[in-house]
Each structure stands twice: as C-alpha cells, then as structure tokens.
C-alpha cells in the first residue's frame, strides 16, 4: 500500500495530536498514581501514629487508675537510695516482733549485679528460740525492701540457739529517661499486676516518727 506525500501531510496533524495526547496520558497516569500512592501512604502512617497514641492514652488512663497513689511504694521495694537503712530497719523490727536479740550487725558496700541492680550484704547474729529463728529467717521473703537470706549458720547451746546470717538487700537507680511522646506504651501485664497485688501484702519497714516538741507557754513574770 503506497501512501503519497499529500496523504502523509493530510494525516500528520491528527497523528501528532494523538501522539501528544498519548504522551500526556502516560505522564499523567504515572505521576498521578505516584502522587496518590504517596498521599495514601502518608495518611496510613499518620493513622497508625494516631491509633498508637490513642492506645497510649487508654493505657496511661488505666495506669493512673491502677497505680492511683504515688510510686513511692514501688521505689521502696527496690529502693534507689538508703536500701541498707530500710534493710536494717527490717532486720531489727522482725527480730523485735519475734522476741529475738540481734547483735554484731555489719553491712557491706553495694556491689553491681545484673540489670543495673546493686546488692548490699548485711550480716548479723541473732539469739533466741530456735523455732522463732527459723520463722524470723523465713519472714524476709515477704518484706519491703526485697531481701534475700544468702546463708545462715545455726548452732544450739542448750535452750537458746544462735544464728549467724548474711542477707542481701537490693537497690537500683531510677530510670533516667522518659520515652518520647509518640513512642508506644506497653501496658502492665497480668503477671505484673498480680505481682503488684502480692507486694501490697509485704511488710513495710517501720521508722520512728520524731514528734515535734510541744511549745511551752512561758509564764508572764509581770502578772
């Protein structure tokens, strides 16, 4: 099929128009689809952040209900400071409750353990009824701050027994950073909640509260 020059010049205009149209079509589709995909991706990401933040708010509101008071209690379980003082308070108070006599108390220096936990040893002698000594030593498994009886030697001399015990009391620094606002919050697990409930039943250290001296009314020397 032969096409003459006249026929070509007759067709060239509509063909160029069609080709330009096709090029525009291809460009528009490729750029347009890319832009729409990008926009949908941005929205998806933003929605994900929104959902995470909503979950975080729900968790934080729940936490403020579960841990309604301040967290001083939890800081006492594994104290950040003065763990030995709390430990000594428990050693003496538990002995006093059981009618036992404490002597030769010695404390060690804090030693770094795993997970940023420090262990300090307290050793002492305890004299009294043998059964009371056993109960006394077992009582340290349910006291605050958390304490561990590491080793004990019990010797009998007649009706009175003497135990030489070494306990460990644990301390840990407070977390230094708070996660960013957009970070995901992890709720307290059932195990953690039951542990919290268990800890509530533990014996807290007792400290004597110094009472303010009563103001004495001075006598008026002129009346």
């Amino acid at each position: 099929m032969n096409i003459t020059k006249g026929e070509i010049s007759f067709l060239i205009k509509p063909v160029i128009f069609l080709v330009v149209l096709i090029i525009l079509f291809i460009l528009l589709i490729s750029i347009g689809i890319r832009q729409v995909t990008l926009a949908i991706g941005k929205i998806d990401e933003s929605k994900k952040v929104e959902t995470a933040l909503n979950q975080k708010i729900t968790i934080l509101q729940k936490v403020s209900q579960v841990i309604s008071g301040d967290t001083t209690f939890l800081d006492m379980v594994v104290p950040s400071k003065t763990a030995v003082l709390y430990g000594l308070s428990q050693v003496k108070n538990q002995a006093y409750k059981s009618g036992l006599l404490i002597s030769n108390i010695k404390t060690g220096t804090p030693v770094a353990d795993k997970n940023n936990i420090y262990k300090t040893s307290i050793s002492f002698d305890v004299d009294g009824n043998e059964i009371a000594i056993y109960d006394y030593l077992k009582s340290f498994s349910r006291v605050i701050p958390l304490m561990n009886v590491e080793k004990v030697k019990i010797s009998n001399s007649g009706s009175v027994a003497r135990a030489t015990a070494t306990l460990s009391v644990y301390s840990s620094e407070l977390p230094k950073t708070i996660p960013s606002i957009s970070s995901v919050a992890v709720d307290l697990t059932d195990e953690e909640l039951s542990l919290l409930n268990e800890l509530v039943s533990y014996t807290l250290p007792v400290f004597a509260e110094p009472k303010a001296t009563e103001q004495q009314v001075k006598e008026d020397p002129f009346n």
Binding site: I3, G6, E7, F10, P14, V15, L21, I22, F25, L28, G32, Q35, V36, A39, I40, K42, I43, S46, K47, V49, E50, L53, I57, I59, L60, Q61, V63, S64, I67, T71, L74, D75, V78, K114, N115, I117, Y134, L137, K138, F140, L146, N148, V149, E150, K151, V152, S155, N156, Y170, S172, L174, P175, I178, P179, I181, S182, A185, L188, E192, L195
Partner: protein
C-alpha cells in the same frame, strides 16, 4: 433546480476516502482521549485534595493526642517507673535464697525430733545445700533417724559425710543435703 457539486481539484491531488476516514477516526479518538484526560486530571486533583484534607485532619488529631499525652505525663512516669521496678523485682525474686532449704530442713528436723536422744550441733544452710551434724546417744535413735533420712523425698541427694563414735557423747554423723 437541482444542485450540482463541481470539483475543480485535479484528480491526482484528491485525498482518497480511506485516508479521510482514517483522519476522521484519529480525530474522534483524540477528542475522546482528551475528554478522558480531562476527566482523569479532575479525578486525580480532587482525590489529591481529598487525601490532603484527610492527612491534615489526621495530623491535627495526632497533635491533639500528643497534647493529651503530655497532660498524662505523670501517669507515663509512673508506668515507666513501675515497669522498670517490676522487671527488677522479678529478677530479684528469681535469685535463689535459703527459704526452701529452711522449710525442707525444718520439716526434716520436726520429723526426727526426739526429746532427749538426738542433738543437732551445727546447721549451715545456703541456697544449694544444707550441712548438719547430729549426735546420738544410742544406736536405736541413729538407726531410726537413718531410716527417716532414707525416706526423704525433698532432696536430690543426701550424703553421709562422716560417722564417728565417742564414748562421752555417743555417735556423731555429718550430713549434706542437696
């Protein structure tokens, strides 16, 4: 009067009908394509505007939520502290203590308690083992106690590390419970 169409173009210069038809077809396709192109442009622009509005709304919501979280900062501090402390508590509670050994040994001691015949000289307890020494005044108490020890199930192994006899105190045995 009949109209007559007169074509004065020379016949060799006339464009064949098929070329004219093809040109018309291309024009038609081009016009349809242009309309489709315009429609696509409108659709794309409107969907981009719609998505942009949605994105802005989502960003605005996110900012509101971030403000709410900032207000709940104290709760977040509590949560962080609670999580940190609880993980440490779990670790500390997993550390071996003498509690179990104490309970097991006390049970053993209660089971063999004899008013006069047996004396525990010294008991040494750590999380892994319990060592003790017992003094018996007669062989009957010794054999009864060994019989009880044989039946103990709470220990993996019980080692009789020494057995001695002294005229003044009687039979002395040393035991290691693991």
């Amino acid at each position: 009067m009949i109209k007559r169409q007169i074509n004065l173009i020379p016949s060799e210069m006339t464009v064949p009908t098929r070329i004219v038809n093809l040109s018309k077809l291309i024009y038609k396709v081009s016009i349809i394509g242009t309309i489709a192109l315009i429609l696509i442009v409108i659709t794309l622009i409107s969907s981009l505007v719609y998505f942009n509005i949605q994105y802005r709304n989502s960003i605005a919501n996110t900012n509101i939520l971030k403000t709410k979280i900032a207000d709940l900062e104290k709760s977040e501090q509590k949560l962080v502290l609670a999580k940190d402390k609880l993980s440490k508590i779990v670790y500390i509670k997993s550390i071996n203590s003498v509690d179990n050994e104490l309970i097991n040994f006390q049970d053993f001691k209660n089971s063999i308690s004899s008013p006069s015949g047996i004396t525990f000289t010294e008991i040494s307890i750590d999380p892994i083992k319990t060592e003790t020494s017992l003094v018996f005044q007669n062989t009957e108490d010794l054999s009864n106690t060994l019989g009880i020890i044989q039946k103990l199930t709470k220990y993996k192994s019980i080692i009789l590390s020494s057995l001695g006899f002294n005229l003044s105190s009687g039979y002395l045995i040393s035991l290691v419970f693991r």
